[in-house]
Amino acid sequence: MIPSKKEWTDALIARHGAELHHRFSSATVAICGLGGLGSNIAIALARAGIGKLLLVDFDRVDITNLHRQQYKANQIGLCKTDALKKNLSEIAPYTEVETVTAKITEANFRDLLKDADIVCEAFDNAESKSMLVNGVLEQLPDCYLVAASGMAGMDTCNTIKTRKIMKRFYLCGDEVSDVASTIGLVAPRVMLCAAHQAHTVLRILADEYEI
């Protein structure tokens, strides 16, 4: 039996307080890339009661994703947008989820992301990360940006951190562990980086801007 929207809201207010719940539930957060970072960010933010998530990815769920991404074995082959929307509807049924199944490019990011209060950069490709970070900072002056760089491999979790690079721009990760020079990505370290990003989103919404 799924709780009513009122029961759900009351439970979140009991946990977070009315003021924080209002801030979280009024926010629109865009998540660009729904891999190990983006799928985990989305679940954390949906659980926290963010009002609207905008999920953007062009890719489909592959068997090689399942060791770190929040999809299920029976979702292989589905669009990540559709699969994650389904999973989120089961976890947090009253979060509004809008999906865009498309590749984010220099030509379309501004239109896609213009209504977001905060953008999470959750790509896996370094050049795509740079494109989105520069694009948002240059062309979406009212938007906060939480990006990630460096979470691959088996190094300690304790090197994953959040830095405030400048007003509106936060960077999570160890900033050095490249997927190309490590064994690849493992679930806990990617989840940890995603948790840094998701919590930074919540802190911004709570007016806690310093790290």
């Binding site: 896996d124 370094a126 990360k129 740079s130 520069n134 240059e138 007003k167 960077l171 997927v179 990617v190």
Partner: protein, 64 residues
């Protein structure tokens, strides 16, 4: 002197592009902040570093 990621360097008078060309940074994988503001990619050639400037160069690595 110009502070780059916390280190004082004698590069005042160079443009951002000229400084980057002398480093190992890949311009396709970076974001450059100067005195608290993003340096537009289209302005790397035209932005001349001044004495007392503070630069933060973020270099992205793959994985996500």
């Amino acid at each position: 002197m110009v502070k780059v990621n916390g280190t004082e360097l004698d590069i005042a008078g160079k443009t951002v592009s000229e400084y980057l060309a002398a480093t190992n940074y890949d311009p396709k994988r970076i974001a450059v902040e100067r005195n608290g503001d993003i340096v537009f990619k289209s302005q790397y050639d035209a932005t001349v570093l001044e004495d007392g400037d503070s630069l933060e160069i973020v270099s992205f690595v793959g994985g996500g």
